[in-house]
Symmetry: C2
Subunit: 321 residues, 2 copies
DNA sequence: TTGAAAGCGCTAACAA
DNA sequence: TTGTTAGCGCTTTCAA
């Protein structure tokens, strides 16, 4: 092409405000450069951060991301997955609402790659999906061990729905720590609720109502822990003097204001980044025939205050600050 | 069509796993049933909540939403808008990174409807865009008035970048309250920084370093306020005994843990819902020829503790709880 | 190197 | 009512 023609074409592009229609392009190419992000609730800080990791990484690779909130509802999830399949997204990142085998399969059947985040699904190992998750067993183990180390022997645990793999994993880690410490597991202290404030509130009230009440409560996530705080306050008890409280997931900015709340945090942003990288690698098909990947990220224990006398000192500091 | 044929067709659909290709549909129809949501940072709880309102409303109307984070960077914003235009989204909800006239126009030129959220843009009234925003002037006015009512006369204010309309609006409301109270405005107490923790931290240190330091600080948003907290702590001062602190936007769960922090909150979820409804109404073209809409939502003052002696009582309650 | 044409899967307009 | 066809704007293949 002569430089003159070239200039003319460019000028025409400019004048007419031409923008290539990527819709037509996608249609011709059968690739949309779009991925779906299906989580339970963007409002949950864990997923917010994860979503940011996903979007940043997607943008870097010239992908867009459509986000969907399932509210832990498998039917909503199925609807969204169907929608995304129809829209011909190039891939999906999914935090499954349930571990049941499931709508996911229809995506895979259509050759749409899927990467799971945070949670497992039944029969995962027979399917061709990658997964990026936190080590819930380990996290719960160190959190429980921390409480045991502080002298607690009756520790209540409240987690989400049994349908969610992290709930069972966290209970597993809890059991392991107790067994290791030679503390018999009291099944009545283990509560499956929902990963929500209401869930934490209700189960905490029930745990604290019984005669032989626990001296510590392990919140399965941040929302549950907030419910526990509400229940404890309502019963006129103190954290952590009367009840120690720890949980999975941090609570934003809490460290700035409150001296207690030992916590295990997961690297949510990294999870988003890694999941997106795995997904894009599959989409681009750099290594077509290869085994599924399972990335397990270690959570981090952040010890603030969990029990007893230290609180008083801290409150004094708070007053002075 | 005979019921028999019908059954046969349905069976074939089932067997072949047929899913209508909405990509082809979009292409033929020139409508994608997709909207773009361009915000500064999904990680900011205000935008997280807004995004949830957008997604819920979009889903209800069978729209998908692509989300983009500009990090207050006008170039990133322009890139995203270009991308979305290329993808032929049916409309865009935008929290503009800058008030300068701008990439937005190229969307409008291509007939893609835009609804602004939270922030204005220069020459808005000449353009055919709706806007949904909080009443920053009013919010800042009542917040400042609250401080004045508590006896403060030297009140520092730290807001975001001047390029963002809410920053100027909040300063405006602040001025108005002071003027109304007959308090002369000391320009050195007005600081334009960024809507970030660092911004709040830096300006707070500067404000507190000068001889005639303010007795109260007005944080332009939640992040700025957190920066102020850090600065105040570092200087060995106490909130609110030495420095009162109030801010725009709530800080999640803070009320559960800290007795102070009077705040003005905006109805972020509703903003998302309304913006989406306006946008979809434009997309569906129910009322083609009509004036632009401007929805201004009143924020709500939440008085916790902002000054003095009450804190001690509250800390005692906290200890007992 | 450049140009022409088929095809991606749907909708809508038109014909039978 | 049912069937046929053009066309959405791009990419890719094949011909010139």
């Amino acid at each position: 092409m002569s430089p003159r023609t070239r200039a003319k074409v460019l000028q025409a592009i400019e004048e007419l405000g031409y923008v290539p229609n990527s819709l037509a392009r996608s249609f011709a190419l059968q690739r949309t450069k779009t991925i779906g992000l299906v989580i339970t609730d963007i409002t949950n800080p864990f997923f917010t951060t994860l979503a940011r990791g996903v979007e940043d990484t997607a943008a870097k690779n010239h992908f867009s991301v459509i986000f969907c909130n399932t509210d832990e509802n498998p039917e909503k999830e199925a609807l969204y997955l169907e929608l995304l399949a129809g829209k011909r997204v190039d891939g999906v990142i999914l935090a499954p609402a349930s571990r049941k085998k499931h709508s996911l399969k229809s995506l895979l059947a259509r050759g749409i790659p899927v990467v799971l985040v945070d949670r497992e699904v039944e029969g995962l190992h027979q399917m061709d999906v990658d997964i990026v998750k936190g080590d819930s067993v380990y996290g719960a183990y160190i959190l429980t061990k921390h409480l045991v180390g502080l002298g607690h022997r009756r520790i209540g645990i409240i987690v989400g729905n049994k349908e969610i793999s992290t709930a069972e994993d966290r209970v597993l880690g809890y059991r392991r720590a107790l067994e290791e410490a030679g503390i018999p597991v009291d099944e009545s202290l283990i509560r499956f609720a929902t990963y929500s404030e209401e869930g934490g509130y209700r189960e905490a009230k029930s745990l604290l109502a019984c005669g032989n009440r626990p001296t510590a409560i392990f919140g399965g996530n941040n929302f549950i822990a907030l419910g526990v705080v509400a229940a404890v306050k309502e019963l006129g008890l103190r954290i952590p003097e009367d009840i120690a409280l720890v949980c999975f997931e941090d609570i934003d900015f809490i460290s700035k204001f409150v001296p207690f709340f030992t916590v295990v945090v997961q690297p949510a942003y990294s999870m988003g980044v890694i999941a997106t990288e795995l997904l894009i690698r599959r989409i681009e098909g750099q290594d077509k025939v290869r085994e599924r990947r399972e990335v397990v990220l270690k959570p981090e224990l952040i010890v603030r205050e969990s029990a007893g006398e230290k609180l008083l000192r801290e409150v004094r500091v708070l007053q002075q600050n």
